[in-house]
């Protein structure tokens, strides 16, 4: 894992001290709320319905056991004993007091964490593949480049007051687990035909009120030129991005007007830039790379007799392995996904005790490492197959062994109107009820991969546009209504879902989802996913299933 050097440590400590002073000035009345608000937002502190909310950055989703224990301590000492993992690999605390926030930030700094740039019109926490360093078929560890971007974008003076917020995601696999095509910049590291590593650079993706899939503006960028090229993109955006209308200010709007022109401008800006000055020096790249060296894996055979025996003897464990574990690049190891979607509970929430349990398990069985996923789950990246049964038992003891990764009850949902000041409708109760409908493991397995994503407003923190089934909560004369979209995907086959028609009331929407799933089950080809069946059959028959023939 990356460790702070003296510069990182100093700048985070100085920021804590600065914010402590700003909070004191606000409490004494020297600063008005209007003056204070942008300062607290620059430190990840929002005001929500019931309390403040602090969003803590987890760079590229990587956590050590020590860091997770500290997050547990903060949840216990300053909050109400739990945290909420978000759709951008961050964690949010829902109840911190303003007067405690400087102390929380200081405690975060003790474990090399902070809340800087988790809000505001700046480059936000860079996100990446939660399986980084463990996935099969990866061309490099994407966290090396994510860390390069983190250092470059932290307090970058030229890009601290952008037209709007700016989100970057990095992957180094063909399988996209970082949703790069719906980010302002998505980077896919790959090898070209000559065997050289470089990035496909995508720009202008995003969700919110005007969703777009990103455009590839450069098919292959040599990896060492990453920062100068990013700098060129940011300069074009900073110069031409609209500042008169916040709804038109994201880079996706600029790109969508004329992608070719945007591409030309970036290339022109890049051509004239002093690349050798802007790009990361080789020695710095090597220094960063050393932090992401693979752990000391044992040399094992691919097959584990202990695992095979345990799977044969325990049906529940066998199901959990099938659903929640993934292949690892190292023989004899596996990637373990920890679902934070227990049936009937808020997606992404985790108690302080559970955080401690995961930290202990990671310490014993996964080289001290934990990852947060953008689908609001956690992941143990490096577990020996021989240890999987012990890991499962420990997770089960902590209430963390739900076997539903990628299934209908593994729902992304934003906090919605239960917490969020911007929401128009509740998300979590809908997620809980849908999960209960698909709680039966046999029913869920029969349905197979189904990504349901729910947002409580058009800002789309619940990524509803890219749900195979997306659900958007809207306010209709004071009543909650839920609009359904179909056919979205945030993966390598990214697409924006299409709105089906009139919305459903809170009491109707779960049955509506069930009708869609029933229709899919009746219509699918053997092995065909919901999304693929939708793409083959088109929207009309699904709409008919939703609304009946009267919809025509």
């Amino acid at each position: 894992m990356y460790r702070y050097d003296e510069f990182d440590d100093t700048f985070v400590r100085e920021r804590v001290a600065e914010f402590r002073g700003q909070v004191a000035r606000r409490l004494s009345g020297d600063l008005t709320e209007e003056q204070f608000k942008p300062l607290r937002l620059m430190n990840g502190l929002y005001l929500q319905l019931h309390a403040y909310m602090l969003r803590v950055a987890i760079p590229y989703g990587t956590l050590s056991a020590r860091q997770l224990r500290q997050l547990a301590m903060i949840a216990r000492k300053y909050d109400k004993g739990y945290g909420h993992f978000t759709t951008r690999q961050n964690i949010q605390y829902n109840w911190p007091a303003l007067i405690d926030v400087p102390d929380i930030l200081s405690d975060l700094a003790d474990v090399e964490m902070h809340a800087i740039q988790t809000s505001g019109n700046c480059i936000r926490n860079v996100t990446s593949d939660p399986y980084a360093g463990a996935a099969t078929g990866e061309v490099d560890d994407p966290r090396v480049w994510s860390e390069v971007i983190r250092q470059w974008s932290s307090l970058h003076p030229e890009f601290s007051f952008l037209p709007r917020k700016f989100k970057i995601a990095v992957t180094a696999s063909d399988e996209d687990r970082a949703a790069i095509k719906v980010h302002d910049i998505g980077l896919r590291l790959y090898r070209n035909e000559e065997g050289d590593r470089g990035f496909e650079v995508l720009v202008g993706g995003g969700l919110g009120r005007t969703p777009f899939i990103a455009e590839t503006i450069r098919a292959f960028l040599p990896e060492r030129r990453l920062l100068s090229y990013l700098e060129a993109i940011m300069r074009v955006y900073n110069r031409h991005g609209r500042r008169d209308n916040k709804y038109k200010a994201r880079v996706k709007i600029l790109v969508s007007v004329d992608p070719d022109d945007f591409r030309r401008q970036v290339e022109k800006e890049w051509e004239k830039s002093d690349k050798d000055r802007l790009d990361a020096p080789l020695e710095e790249l090597l220094r960063i790379r050393r932090h992401f060296a693979p752990p000391n894996f044992e040399m094992l055979t691919q097959d584990s007799a202990a695992l095979n025996d345990a799977r044969r003897d325990n049906e529940e464990f066998n199901r959990w392995i099938s659903v929640n574990s993934r292949a690892h690049r190292q023989p004899g190891y596996a990637i373990v996904n920890i679902s934070l979607k227990p049936i009937g509970k808020p997606p992404g929430d985790i108690s302080a005790d559970q955080m401690d349990a995961v930290a202990d398990i990671a310490g014993r069985f996964s080289f001290d490492e934990i990852r947060a996923t953008h689908e609001q789950n956690l992941c143990l990246p490096h577990v020996k197959k021989d240890d999987l049964f012990a890991v499962w038992r420990a997770l089960d003891g902590a209430g963390l062994a739900t076997a539903n990764i990628g299934l209908a009850s593994d729902i992304i949902a934003c906090p919605g109107l239960d917490y969020c000041d911007l929401a128009n409708a509740r998300s979590i109760p809908i997620a809980e009820r849908i999960a209960e409908r698909f709680a039966d493991p046999r029913k869920a397995a029969d349905v197979g991969e189904l990504k349901i994503k729910i947002s409580g407003c058009i800002n789309a923190c619940g990524h509803h546009h890219v749900g195979h089934i997306g659900i958007l909560g809207v306010d209709k004369k004071g009543e909650e209504f839920y609009q359904i979209t179909l056919g979205g995907s945030g993966a390598e086959d990214a697409s924006i879902g299409a709105i089906t028609g009139r919305g459903f009331s809170s009491s109707e929407v779960v049955d509506a989802v069930d009708r869609l799933v029933d229709f899919y089950k009746d219509s699918r080809k053997p092995g065909e996913r919901f999304l693929d069946a939708y793409r083959r059959l088109g929207a009309e028959p699904f709409k008919e299933a939703l609304y009946g023939e009267t919809s025509h």
């Binding site: 009345g29 319905l49 019931h50 239960d418 917490y419 004071g478």
Partner: protein
């Protein structure tokens, strides 16, 4: 009728303006105003800058918030509907125990 609601500066907790124009924690203790008077009191409340982070008017009756924002304001009044153990609803239960 209108009530005046706010978020306390120190911890963001939901407040209401009560009978003597002091802040109270519970909607049940909130004073209901005629619209004109509510505007005037709100203007005074907004001057109490070290007490609150925000304040605004809501439509309400003695039974609770009403109108277009009734659900949002009822959630603020009680706490998250998905965590009955948190927020003012939990404080009320704890007091009863």
């Amino acid at each position: 009728m209108k009530a005046i609601t706010a978020n306390r500066l120190s911890d963001g907790a939901v407040l209401y303006v009560g009978d003597d124009e002091s802040f109270v924690d519970r909607f049940e203790q909130a004073r209901l105003f005629e619209p004109g008077e509510a505007e005037k009191v709100l203007a005074q409340v907004l001057n109490r800058k070290t007490a609150i982070a925000s304040a605004y008017l809501i439509e309400a009756e003695a039974t609770g918030p009403i109108g277009r924002e009734a659900l949002r304001e009822t959630i603020r009044k009680n706490g998250p509907t998905v965590r009955r153990d948190l927020g003012k609803q939990a404080e009320l239960i704890n007091e009863r125990l």
